[in-house]
Symmetry: C2
Subunit: 206 residues, 2 copies
DNA sequence: ACTTTTTTCAAACCGCTGTTTGAATTTTAA
DNA sequence: TTAAAATTCAAACAGCGGTTTGAAAAAAGT
């Protein structure tokens, strides 16, 4: 691997990540990417074997860093009470709301995939989502130790849905008739509130 | 209004609704629409003033029929207990899971909009979502009569999120590592389960 | 019956898409 | 220093996108 080629590779990846997050796969032209990255148009085909290949790389990277954020804290969560662990989990899920950083871009790329999943994405999910889902299932199991597998899985998905609806519709929620502006303080409040509601729901007998 | 022109209008609308639901706005070409509808290509520009105009019509229609489904039952819900009303509401929200009918297509069209809302959609939402959101807020208020406005709104969104995560990710959820196959029986179970969890969460002190 | 309006139609237009090409340039290795 | 490999580059290619056009056909009005 030579140095200069790595540089253009990185420039392309960075620009592509931003544009894919903003406009989605179809909405992003390779001309837009190479202009932003200030590299030649053919570079994408040379380094990534086409637009598909580039997208695959961006997707893998996004998935890796997003789930890593939760998996890193798996151990310390075991030391917490189930309520505290739940709050910590939800807070981390809501993290993309706090900053317009890498994590919020990655989240947006995923949102595009939920409407019409690419085969690349489907495969990625079925191969690598297990650890993350395991974490969520483990968490809800602490509230419902006697629940069967399907119930636990549904509860985990249910929990994630409570977060994703705020992540996904942030802009819409800020406007009327909702008027839910999610600034930093509001996100703190939201994380606590969701935790309480979720814990209340799971706490009762299933 | 002449009869034959109404017929081609309807054919275009029907085909467009299906294709927009399946592939989204950008993913649907007017050539695909006119082929499916078996009308001339220029008909879209003639009847709808372009692809944008056609999409606007489809969107309005989808929104109208979707929210109508809940609003129709607003009165009878007042006669039910809060728990029963919640279950009925959630069951109706999950209805697109039960049949591959109009409602599930309309839901898909909306899902496309959540990633990158069209200005048409933004306007539609801010103008016409109030009655529907009002219904949801009213419902959660029965569990938390003392809650402030922001909390009630957040609770309503929270509630909708618990449903939409299953609506949106149906296909993904069926595959490993989740393995949640949502057939008719499973949807019944899911509606009950979500209602119980949501009621449990809202029931406690906010 | 005839005129006017509405509606359909095939063809063309023009801009944008992802990819390919083959030569020029740079980097690496001997 | 020199030969080979890797990388960059501008240009062209082929196909699809939404829209426009102007004439033909059908329908409505008189």
């Amino acid at each position: 691997m030579t140095r200069p080629s790595e540089i253009t590779r990185e420039r392309i990846m960075k620009s592509a990540e931003r544009l894919f997050a903003e406009r989605g796969y179809d909405g992003t032209s390779i001309r837009a990417i190479v202009t932003k990255a200030r590299v030649n148009q053919a570079a994408i085909n040379y380094h990534f074997d086409g637009k598909d290949g580039l997208y695959r790389e961006v997707l893998r990277e996004a998935f890796r860093t997003l789930t890593a954020q939760q998996l890193e804290h798996a151990d310390e969560m075991k030391a917490l009470s189930r309520e505290a662990a739940l709050t910590a989990f939800i807070r981390r899920q809501l993290h993309p709301l706090l900053a317009r950083d890498e994590s919020s871009r990655h989240m947006r790329i995923f949102n595009w995939e939920t409407v019409r999943p690419t085969t690349v994405f489907r495969k990625l999910l079925s191969e690598e989502a297990a650890p993350f889902m395991g974490l969520a299932v483990e968490l809800v199991r602490r509230f419902q130790p006697e629940a069967d597998e399907r119930t636990s899985m549904a509860a985990a998905v249910w929990l994630l849905g409570q977060c994703s609806v705020f992540l996904r519709n942030r802009e819409q929620l800020a406007e009327p008739p909702m008027g839910l502006v999610l600034d930093e303080a509001a996100v703190d409040w939201l994380a606590d509130t969701i935790s309480r509601w979720a814990a209340g729901g799971l706490g009762r007998r299933a």
